[in-house]
């Protein structure tokens, strides 16, 4: 596993600064044009202590500027609904709504999730230091290294895989400080289709 990861890492080629700037602008232009986004996702979490991995699946809905529904459907049920300043977490047994303004941690999580999904966080320079690479599949990888202390405690880095055809985020790869990775792959992405208000309400 480590050897494969190392090979994958070496296969990435750092982009010259001028190209990196151009790519950042392209990603930001596309991100700015997204008013809604819907997709399915698969999440694979490495569990190094068990020499195993955990696979979960779900759906995601986003509406600009600040609504997000992140829902796991398998193998467990869990919903994270962000509607403005309110976040509701519901696991089928308990439901809990909090004001993200009361928790710095929630603010960071909400901001990173929405920024990563759309690619917007590439332009929000104060949280991360960005490095740009070309990917063997023809797309690009933007590797974001946290600058802030709170984020450094959560991640070693976050890599956004950008599709060459859409200039949108197709995969998010979060690496923790102990090296465990969580990879989220988006599928069946639909952009700027109408989304009902009820999607972001807890029933």
């Amino acid at each position: 596993m480590a050897a494969v990861a190392a090979l994958a890492a070496t296969a990435q080629t750092a982009m010259p600064q001028s190209q990196a700037k151009e790519l950042a602008e392209r990603i930001n232009t596309v991100a700015s044009s997204i008013s809604t986004m819907q997709c399915g996702f698969e999440q694979v979490k490495e569990l190094s202590i068990l020499k195993d991995r955990m696979v979960s699946e779900g759906t995601m809905c986003y509406r600009s500027p600040n609504q997000l529904r992140w829902e796991y459907t398998s193998p467990y049920a869990y919903r994270f609904i962000l509607d403005g300043d309110k976040v509701t977490m519901d696991n089928g047994r308990t439901s809990n709504t909090v004001d993200i303004r009361s928790s710095h941690m929630f603010q960071e999580i909400a901001r990173i999730m929405m920024g990563s999904v759309t690619g917007r966080c590439i332009g929000e320079g104060s949280d991360f230091k960005a490095a740009y690479y070309t990917s063997p599949d023809g797309g690009w990888i933007v590797r974001l290294t946290p600058v802030k202390k709170q984020l450094k405690h959560m991640f070693k880095d976050v890599a956004l895989h950008i599709s060459a055809t859409t200039s949108m985020v197709s995969e998010i790869e979060m690496t923790e400080n102990n090296g465990d990775r969580t990879v989220i792959r988006f599928k069946d992405i639909k952009i700027n289709k109408p989304l009902d208000d009820s999607v972001f309400k807890v029933h």
């Binding site: 195993d52 955990m54 467990y76 941690m105 405690h153 979060m174």
Partner: protein, 153 residues
């Protein structure tokens, strides 16, 4: 005299049975060698509630496990050495990395994995194999609900 002998015999039997239980220790999760178990975990306290996923597996003399939130971010890993009845926490997330929190977590996990006496703890295992532990001293309740559909692909 006969009654006295019977009493001694009963006491000996009871104490031997207790010693056997304490010596061997049985985990609340009924772990089998090599078989991974996934649980939805809720930890409730008077001030807060944490939800996440706990995954564990027994491998020979060791139980290895991890607790992550639903997004996959790790809270902590743990290793329980069965023969030594010793538990270690690893890779503890910053906000839990306090000696008193780790001490409580270690004590509660050790109890759940069969390594210590109940003391101030109460354990209930439901018909659906949900494991519920109450730490009365700290006002904590842990609920481990089995995730039926395996998350291994």
């Amino acid at each position: 005299m006969t009654r006295f002998s019977r009493c001694i015999s009963l006491l000996l039997t009871l104490s031997m049975a207790a010693a056997a239980v304490m010596g061997k220790g049985k985990d609340a999760f009924m772990l089998d060698e090599g078989v991974r178990k996934d649980y939805a975990l809720t930890i409730e306290s008077p001030d807060m509630s944490f939800t996440g996923i706990c995954v564990m597996r027994q491998m020979s003399d060791t139980v290895a496990g991890t607790v992550v939130n639903e997004f996959g971010l790790k809270a902590f890993d743990f290793i329980y050495l069965m023969s030594k009845r010793k538990i270690k926490l690893k890779n503890v997330v910053k906000f839990l990395d306090r000696w008193y929190i780790k001490s409580t977590l270690k004590g509660d996990l050790k109890y759940l994995l069969g390594g210590s006496k109940p003391s101030h703890r109460g354990l209930d295992i439901g018909a659906d194999s949900t494991v519920r532990l109450a730490n009365r001293r700290r006002g904590l309740t842990y609920i481990f609900t089995p995730i039926k559909q395996p998350s291994i692909k």
